[in-house]
């Protein structure tokens, strides 16, 4: 059972206080998008063995959505960060690079 630090209220939250909210950094495609763009937005998800970026909600705590960067194979957590961003912060990317030098995920590396 995971423990993730909520970057909004500082609590090391038990997984039972959290709710998984799927892949992070999805870009919304609306009415003017092509069928392919919209299809990918709705259905195309990453499922890596290794570095992954996810959304979580501290649902039994402060109620905030946040992001977590972690390894799906070892469950190592590289960091959690605020939801109000379009990409992972540099310090978290650096931390991942130090441990998983050749990582890539979506457009990030």
């Amino acid at each position: 059972m995971l423990t993730l630090n909520c970057p909004y209220c500082g609590v090391d939250a038990d997984e039972t206080d959290l709710h998984g909210e799927g892949e992070a950094h999805l870009k919304r495609f609306g009415p003017n998008s092509t069928d392919d763009e919209f299809h990918d937005y709705l259905f195309q998800r990453q499922n890596p063995k290794g570095v992954h970026f996810e959304r979580w909600r501290h649902v039994y705590g402060c109620g905030k959505f946040f992001h977590a960067a972690r390894c799906t194979a070892t469950l190592e957590v590289f960091g959690t960060y605020l939801a109000q961003t379009l990409e992972p912060p540099q310090d978290i990317k650096d931390k991942i690079t130090a441990k998983r030098p050749s990582w890539t995920w979506g457009n990030f590396s």
Binding site: L2, T3, F65, Q84
Partner: protein
């Protein structure tokens, strides 16, 4: 015979007798006994029957690894099957019965299976019972279920209490032997927060039985001193009768405390499940002795050598008068020495090694015990009890050299470290050839959230079988764990132990080495599941080469003991059969819990009336006192109908339906979701949330709105009210309140975080009551206060004000087609307001109504219900709700999806009303059949029923459903399936059945 010894028994109080029963027989033991030692003291060696062949079985171990001696404990609500006698502490009045036999333990009809064992080899069930297919369900399984199986499931509800306990610690130490104690001591001295648990009632593990010297004193003294020191540390908690049962991700550990199992009269929870977050875990879980595989090694009286010693030293019980010791290592010599010193006969030590030197061997020899090197046991003789052993050369094929009479065989095949907790979360093992064991590989520990190892292992569990290195290893592990966890203090000096010099072990996986089939088919590996050496060899021969496959094919290690005694022996046989090395074959996966834990401890307090939270409205108490027949709506319980004396539920529903249309009905609508949405961008935000326009709603007015997911599917609906310039109140469905609140927060926090909008869920702040029917206005006017006339409060508007004494917000909205007000008051006054309405409404024929009446009234009007007309695949267009899809808005959630090809397909099933020709009620969910069959040979369908009711107002069945091109087929008759196989002719009609022009609500 097995009997009580006069001068030993460090754990029993011989001045305090304890009475108990076994299979109805009254027996007596001592305070401090386990059920195992007490049964042995009464010469009750036969304790159970094996799973498959129903062979007689006695106890083979002295602790948690016991596979054989499982009993039913207790009666009535205290009944529990499959309890190990070795871990059951004796108490006055204990009642145990043996299991898996018929008609009796002594005479078991099922034991004929053993004569058929030749015909019941590995994989027998798979081979035999596969054809013909239907026989499995109707013939084979029922018969096998009758004859096989362990204890019976309890029939009475368990009335004991159970609880959880959540803590965080720096260092958790599992195992209260000398390694665990010294680990806890080191960690405790550094100031770290430490929890030390021990699964048994006693501390010191093996050391207090074998009494090596620690810090110059006998081990028992050191254990007592250390325990006292630990108990005196404020930062250390020690807990016996508590098993570290599972290690999980990120340092999560479950520990299983048995609080009153040994003292059922104590008023406390029976079990407590500790849910621990540990920064570091030290597993000092010891080792389990391995049996030797020789013919007849399952006959009662054949026991692990250390267990024989435990019974003698701890509980003062001899397993037999004449004990032959058979071993491949020096440790078993301690058993011979112990027994000899207790005055018992040890006719021989059969040592499979060609020769060995060591202090213990010398001591045994000095005591005059015969030592036979290079020998093995060809065969154990006896039925329900060992009578003798046949001796052979270990290097041979089993030719018997001599026969030694005995009633106990103490066997030792070496020791397997308990690596379970290390392995639960991914810790890897290495094969230690010199000691013939798998032990934890310190280089490959389980990894925690920081990517570093969070489990270390210490003492015997780490492969350090000797006192000096074990206790030092424990201390070092505790000190290192505390440091890693951040503790700053000094651990001080490590305790020092000393050992007798021992010779090396020589692995023996089969005895004798060249045993023939006749012997191999009587050499047990898994005692509980009746798996023998020959079965594993057959599995290998038939191609089940993976250890995981061989396990499942033979059922080796799949019993309740999870192979604690059998896995390594079985694995060695498998590797030999495959001509592979043991480490290349590998082990099966270790999964928690270490031993079975009670289901109730996992549930904790969640049983009986705390099984799940039941949500109550301010009016629930009144409803429950006035005939409410409740239905679950999420965790709410809403009255389905208010049933009066002499009525059926159906009668009550019909009465409520008619009365609401004719007079006055009250509905507790408090469960409806209510969300306040406020801010400069609230209008813009709601325009994204809803398919229709909300930003242009005038203050004081209400509008029905639809919400879709990004997939375009309907997700929720409800009436939205504009409260002021910046504030809207959004009603959601009862089940939607939390979900839609989370949905709004998601978009506000993660997509449009620069929009100025706040949302608050005020669902439970307000009690909301629907006042419905021709007399609705009259009752409100009687209470007095705000003007609720047609002119002052027109349809789809709301007003704040007083109604009677109450601060109220009245919405003129209707889900029934009647004149209707929904009135919200603070929840603290909800009950008083309800009472006031009932009082005032009496002269107007007021009756509360339930959810079924609500459904019928809305269905009569053709209103949709989320969850009935929608199922996660339905779009607004399917329900003829195009009018609610704004064309002015460039975007809203779900808009893009509605232009996807399948959504825009003109051939979708669409909502219509349905009337059976004979007036009957259509079955819920029934399908409309179409011509022909589909690719799977099933009848084609062209629609389905989404809502169906008996309407008392129409005196006939009414329904709505989704039908292929339905709205274009008005008047057409189609057929719906019935459960009995027939069909019902049904006409497609307009979905509004009652008051088509809406005259009743508009008064």
């Amino acid at each position: 015979m097995s009997t009580r010894l006069a001068n030993t028994g460090r754990l029993v109080n011989k001045n305090k007798a304890v009475s108990f029963t076994f299979n109805g027989k009254n027996l007596s033991g001592f305070d401090g006994d386990t059920l195992a030692s007490a049964l042995l003291a009464n010469d009750q060696m036969l304790m159970g029957r094996s799973f498959k062949y129903h062979r007689p079985r006695g106890v083979v171990a002295s602790g948690a690894e016991e596979p054989n001696a499982l009993v039913n404990l207790g009666t009535g609500p205290d009944f529990e099957p499959n309890q190990r006698v070795t871990t059951t502490e004796l108490y006055d009045g204990l009642s145990a019965t043996s299991q898996n036999h018929w008609p009796s333990l002594e005479f078991d009809v099922g034991a004929v299976n053993k004569h058929l064992s030749r015909f019941l080899p590995a994989g027998f069930y798979y081979k035999m019972f596969i054809h013909p297919r239907p026989f499995w369900k109707y013939v084979y399984e029922p018969i096998i279920r009758q004859s096989a199986g362990l204890g019976k499931a309890p029939k009475t509800r368990d009335d004991d209490a159970y609880e959880h306990f959540n803590i965080n610690v720096d260092v958790m130490v599992v195992g209260g032997g000398i390694a665990g104690l010294s680990a806890a001591l080191a960690a405790g001295r550094t100031g770290a927060r430490v929890l030390l648990v021990e699964q048994t009632a006693h501390w010191g593990g093996r050391a207090v039985v074998d009494q090596p010297t620690i810090d110059g004193t006998p081990a028992e003294d050191w254990v007592n001193t250390t325990l006292q020191a630990l108990e005196g540390m404020g930062n250390v908690t020690v807990r016996n009768r508590t098993q570290g049962s599972g290690v999980y991700d990120h340092g999560y550990v479950l520990a299983y405390e048995r609080i009153t199992d040994h003292a059922p009269d104590v008023d406390a929870p029976r079990h407590r499940l500790w849910r621990i977050r540990a920064k570091q875990i030290v597993t000092a879980t010891g080792a389990i002795e391995r049996p030797l595989s020789f013919a007849g090694n399952d006959i009662p009286g054949v026991t692990l050598a250390a267990a024989v010693r435990d019974y003698a030293v701890n509980w003062g019980v001899s397993m037999g008068d004449r004990t032959v010791v058979v071993t491949n290592n020096d440790d078993a010599y301690r058993t011979a020495i112990t027994l000899k010193k207790a005055g018992l006969d040890v006719p021989a030590i059969i040592d499979a090694r060609d020769g060995a030197m060591g202090d213990l061997i010398e001591e045994a020899r000095d005591l005059g015990i015969r030592i036979a090197f290079g020998k093995g046991i060809a065969k154990v003789k006896g039925n329900k009890r060992v009578t003798s052993v046949g001796i052979c050369a270990q290097a041979g094929e089993g030719a018997e050299l001599e026969e030694i009479a005995c009633d106990c065989v103490a066997m030792s095949g070496g020791w397997s470290p308990v690596v379970h907790l290390w392995s639960h979360c991914g810790g890897k093992l290495v094969w230690d050839d010199a000691q013939a064991m798998f032990r934890p590989d310190a280089e490959r520990p389980p990894l925690g959230a920081d990517g570093q190892g969070f489990v270390t292992t210490a003492g015997i569990a780490n492969g350090h079988l000797f006192t000096a290195e074990g206790i030092a290893d424990g201390f070092a592990a505790g000190r290192a764990a505390a440091k890693t966890a951040g503790a700053k203090g000094k651990a001080g000096d490590a305790p020092a132990g000393s050992d007798a010099a021992e010779g090396a072990i020589s692995p023996v996986w089969l005895m004798p080495q060249g045993a023939k089939q006749a012997l191999r088919s009587k050499a047990w590996l898994d005692f509980q599941n009746d798996v023998k050496v020959s079965d594993v060899q057959l599995a290998a021969q038939e191609g089940f080469e993976s250890v995981e496959h061989a396990k499942r094919y033979t059922t080796l290690g799949m019993a309740t003991d999870q192979g604690k005694l059998s896995n390594i022996n079985g694995l060695a046989i498998l590797s030999k059969s495959l001509n592979a090395d043991i480490p290349n074959v590998g082990t099966t996966t270790f999964r928690p819990p270490y031993t079975p834990i009670s289901m109730s401890s996992i549930a904790g307090p969640a049983k009986g009336d705390l099984f799940q939270p039941i949500r109550l409205t301010p009016i629930s108490d009144w409803s429950n006192a006035n005939g409410a027949d409740n239905e679950p709506v999420g965790q709410w319980r809403r009255p389905y109908a208010y049933v009066r004396d002499g009525e059926t539920v159906h009668d009550a529903v019909n009465r409520e339906v008619k009365n609401t249309r004719d007079n006055l009905g009250l509905l507790d609508a408090s469960t409806l979701g209510k969300l306040i949405v406020k801010g400069a961008d609230a209008g813009k935000f709601l325009d994204m949330m809803y398919t229709n326009m909300m930003s242009n709603l005038a203050v004081g007015k209400c509008r029905y709105g639809l919400m879709c997911t990004e997939n375009g599917f309907l997700s929720d609906d409800g009436v939205v009210a504009r409260i002021d310039d910046e504030t809207w109140l959004c009603h959601t469905t009862t089940g939607g309140a939390e979900r839609i609140h989370a949905w709004m927060e998601d978009w506000l926090q993660c997509e449009w975080w620069d929009w100025n909008v706040y949302v608050a869920n005020v669902t439970e702040q307000l009690a909301q009551i629907a006042v419905v029917g021709p007399n609705a206005r009259k009752v409100l006017e009687k209470l007095g206060g705000m003007d609720v006339s047609k002119e002052a409060l027109p349809f789809m508007q709301w007003r704040d004000g007083k109604i009677g004494d109450f601060d109220a917000r009245a919405y003129r909205i209707s889900f029934s087609g009647e004149l209707s007000y929904e009135i919200a008051v603070p929840a603290s006054q909800g009950r008083a307001f309800w009472d006031a309405l009932l009082d005032a409404g009496e002269e107007f024929g007021v009756m509360p109504y339930g959810t079924e009446c609500l459904h019928i009234l809305r269905a009569e009007k053709g209103f949709i219900m989320i969850g009935d007309e929608t199922d996660g695949t339905v779009i607004p267009q399917d329900l003829n709700l195009q009018w609610a899809l704004s064309k002015k808005k460039t975007d809203y959630l779900g808009k893009r999806a509605h232009s996807r090809s399948h959504m825009a397909d003109p051939n979708r099933w669409k909502l219509v009303g349905l009337e059976t020709l004979d007036g009957s009620v259509l079955p819920d969910g029934a399908y409309a059949i179409a011509e022909g069959d589909n690719a799977n040979g099933q009848r084609n369908v062209q629609g389905r029923v989404t809502s169906t009711y008996y309407s008392a107002n129409m005196d006939r069945g009414i329904a709505m459903g989704l039908v292929h091109n339905g709205p274009d087929r008005m008047g057409e008759v189609i057929e719906f399936n019935k459960v009995d196989g027939g069909t019902i002719k049904t006409k497609i009609v307009d979905q509004v059945f009652y008051d088509k022009d809406g005259e009743k609500q508009n008064v």
